[in-house]
Structure formats: C-alpha cells, structure tokens
Amino acid sequence: EDKVVQSPLSLVVHEGDTVTLNCSYEVTNFRSLLWYKQEKKAPTFLFMLTSSGIEKKSGRLSSILDKKELFSILNITATQTGDSAIYLCAVEARGSTLGRLYFGRGTQLTVWP
C-alpha cells in the first residue's frame, strides 16, 4: 500500500531558527512530490519536485528530493511567526491514479516570537 510519512509531527521553535521537515514515501510508479502549507484555511502550494537532487527555492524556503532514498526535505531558514502552519507532503504516482495525491499527516510547525 502506498504510504507517505512525515516527521516530526510537531515542532516548536523560536523566531530566527532554521527548521528541516522530513517526508519519506513508498509509492509505486512515483511521478512527483509536492509540499503544501496549510494554515486555518486552504492548503497553499509551495513546491513540486520531480527530479532528484535539484533544489527548489522560494525566499527562505527550499526543498530537495532524493529519489534513490525515497525522501524529501523542506527547509525554512530565519523562521518567522507567519511560518506557523501545518506543512503537508504529498506524492503523485503514474498510471491509473495519475492526478491522485497521497498526503502525509503533516508537520505542525509553531514559531514563537
């Protein structure tokens, strides 16, 4: 059965700290891995990764995929209180379920001032 596991499930840091969120997956016919940020509303898209070893960056956020070891990390540097949210990792497979995202449980990040 396909599975996406995120760790840690929750994380509390102070402003300015750097955090690393982990996502490992076991998906048949992997196609892509996506990161979303979910506050008290809609999950908002952060990154889509399809190629191993290529870092995606957006401001203080960056992410990289390792297809050999089947995991991805999301880094946030110089954290701010506005980064407090649930970060969701999702994986998409090829084949008949193309387009279906398999989500992990998320990492609840809390940034204290």
Binding site: K41, A42, L98, L101
Partner: protein
Amino acid sequence: EAGVVQSPRYKIIEKKQPVAFWCNPISGHNTLYWYLQNLGQGPELLIRYENEEAVDDSQLPKDRFSAERLKGVDSTLKIQPAELGDSAVYLCASSLGWGTDTQYFGPGTRLTVL
C-alpha cells in the same frame, strides 16, 4: 483572479440528516477534486472530475456519498444520511488539467455531525 470557492464554510447537522457542499473551481480549470480531511490527518481524495466526467471515484463511499458536476464547472458533494464519523473538513481543489498541473485548494467546509 478568484480562487476556489466553497460553501458553506461551516455546517452542523444531526446524524441521519442529509448535507450538501458546493464548490466553484478556478475559471478555466477542467479538473476538480473533492478531498476529505480528518483531524490530524492529510487530505484523502474522494473523487476527481475531468470536466463533467467522474474519472476517479474509487475512494468515494457510494452507499451514502454522491457527487455531481453537471455542466463541467461547479460541483456538489452530498452525504445522505450523515453519520457521526463523517465529521471532518471537506476540501475542493481544481487544476487546469490532470497529472501535470498544480492543484489549488479551496478553504474547505467543516462538517460537524452531532
């Protein structure tokens, strides 16, 4: 440009009652998704539409859940009758196409079944 619109945002009903959720996707998006998100869990796909056709509904509990997208634009998800275990957030998402395009999510409908 407006994002995915969902209504209502919150709904409280008693068990065995029917309930319906509405979703209007981003203009021009052909693919529409309904997800269920339980507390402390990631979203799980219920059904995916390509225009008006349901192309992936294998995870929709068809004994009590139904969905439609009659004109290939907005969509309705219905539960009849609702059970206590249906309490969750129901998310709608849309994308330009499927398989290659980013899914954009609406704010969700939080359902509480008493």
